[in-house]
């Protein structure tokens, strides 16, 4: 983890955030906008209805580079449970760096760029990136190198009007589907783009040279369909999207199976293993995990926050909230948390204890708000 006592680092868009009235807070070692003057609720709703622009330059960008795809894929497959070898050129996948016992060290995206055989692009969490890089570098074969990218910003454009905004800026993205990656130009600026994000909406993550970041940010914001969105709404959007936040919903004690991430482990890996924690993951796939991640919708308006205990109707504690807040789209308090699998069925009546008071809740299907990815 980054030492929180260090002065937060500015992203290349620092001055832009200040000019927009963004309220900057220290986050994972960076000064990041938590909200702009319109506030989290309005930013959340704007993203679901139009297009929200996020600075996510704090996240870690890196490349694995080797002689060919098979070699680089094998190197990454030694660390993650996803099928890397079978990833088609121009595609991206979600996976997890696993500890020897199957606990999650971090979750990440990896992409196989077109026309760069032997390169994988990685995006990891800001708070984990130093540890991730050390872990990855320590486990690579001699012919595969980890290149840490320190000179690129990362923007996310999320929401149903994102495609139209990019097309209007001359970007050929209309034919891309969820998890496609391309190198192309937006507003004449070269970018590496993926059709993905962490809001549950259609959208794009756009890697751009630091020196072009302000120009790209400004070009996107010049479109009236686009507004800047802070980390506060990013959190409420991803919570409604049922997406895990590392260090909260998942951590080194949790396995991908407990976390409901079995979908990210493709069949060849489930059968063949060859990644850290395979024994635990195979056992949990066969027998079921000891705990599982669920979504909860609470009655009333009072949110339950991380750490709140979850009780069965007889008062027995059966779980704990890992992320919780008010879901602006649902207009209800929502939470995710660990629970005894006996209580995980959708519709199960439970209570969440908030300041000693049991708030009625029931297990809900995840995501809370249906994903609107372009498949």
């Amino acid at each position: 983890m980054t030492d929180p006592t260090d002065t937060p680092l500015p992203t290349p868009l620092h001055a832009a955030h200040l000019a927009l009235g963004g309220r900057l807070v220290p986050f994972a070692g960076y000064a990041m906008p938590v909200q702009y003057p319109t506030g989290i609720l309005a930013e959340h709703q704007w993203t679901r209805a139009h297009a929200g622009l996020f600075d996510v330059s704090h996240m870690g960008q890196a490349r694995l580079v080797g002689p060919d795809h098979a070699t680089v894929a094998a190197a990454l497959e030694a660390l993650v449970p996803a099928d890397v070898a079978g990833l088609a050129p121009g595609r991206q996948r979600y996976s997890q760096l696993l500890a020897p016992d199957g606990g999650i060290l971090d979750d990440l995206m990896f992409a196989r760029p077109l026309g760069a055989d032997g390169t994988l692009a990685l995006v990891v969490n800001a708070g984990c990136k130093a540890a991730d890089y050390a872990h990855i570098a320590a486990h690579l074969p001699p012919d595969v190198a980890l290149e840490i990218i320190e000179d690129r910003a990362l923007l996310a454009l999320q929401g149903p009007e994102s495609e139209a905004v990019l097309v209007a800026l001359g970007a050929a993205v209309a034919d891309l589907v969820f998890m496609d990656v391309r190198s192309l130009e937006v507003a004449g600026l070269p970018v590496d783009l993926s059709r993905s994000g962490y809001t549950g909406e259609d959208g794009f993550e756009i890697s751009v040279a630091d020196s072009d970041a302000v120009a790209l940010w400004s070009a996107l914001l010049a479109d009236p369909r686009v507004k800047p969105i802070g980390l506060g709404a990013r959190d409420s959007l991803r919570l409604e999207g049922g997406l895990c936040l590392y260090g909260h919903d998942i951590d080194v004690t949790s396995s991908p199976i407990e976390a409901g991430l079995a979908w990210s482990i493709q069949k060849r890996r489930r059968l063949g293993g060859g990644f850290p924690g395979f024994a635990r993951i195979a056992r949990e796939l066969a027998e079921g995990p000891a705990r599982t991640r669920v979504g909860l919708i609470l009655d009333g308006r009072q949110p339950a926050r991380e750490g709140a205990e979850i009780a069965a109707t007889d008062g027995t504690i059966v779980g704990r909230v890992t992320s919780g807040g008010f879901g602006p789209t649902l207009e209800k308090p929502v939470a995710m948390g660990w629970i005894d699998p006996a209580f995980a069925a959708v519709g199960t009546e439970l209570a969440v204890l908030v300041r000693g008071k049991p708030l009625p809740a029931r297990v809900a299907a995840l995501p809370f708000v249906p994903a609107r990815f372009r498949r």
Partner: protein
């Protein structure tokens, strides 16, 4: 007479009845308020003790009683419309009315000028 605390509550005193809520600065810091927990009528509040909880999208914050007093009314409009705290924090978005004990000491509270000066230091 309207006074303030360094915990960012305002309190308007009219005879032995005082109305309090959170300040404009406090609601700006909290962001969008989605839930307010208010004390029951009849509850005896102790100065500096918990008088309620205000939940924004981001986080929960306690509201402290600016003075000792017995709750005579809580603003039930906030139950259905917690956003009033953001829109009109120092008028319609009030939290609680309390009855003060005779001779209540208000000397530790700040007047408007002193509170404004305090906020400038933050």
């Amino acid at each position: 007479m309207k006074l303030y605390t360094k915990d960012h509550e305002w309190i308007a005193i009219d005879g032995d009845v005082a109305t309090f809520g959170i300040t404009t600065y406090a609601q700006e810091q909290l962001g969008d308020v989605v839930f307010v927990e208010l004390p029951d009528v009849g509850k005896k509040l102790v100065k500096g003790g918990e008088a309620g909880v205000v939940e924004s999208v981001k986080a929960a914050s306690e509201v402290y009683a600016p003075l000792d007093g017995e709750v005579i009314e809580a603003n039930r409009r906030l139950t259905d419309d917690p956003g009033l705290v953001n829109l009109q924090p120092e008028t319609d978005g009030w939290f609680v009315k309390i009855r003060l004990a005779p001779g209540t000491d208000t000397s530790e509270l700040l007047d408007e000028a002193a509170y404004e000066a305090f906020v400038q230091t933050l």
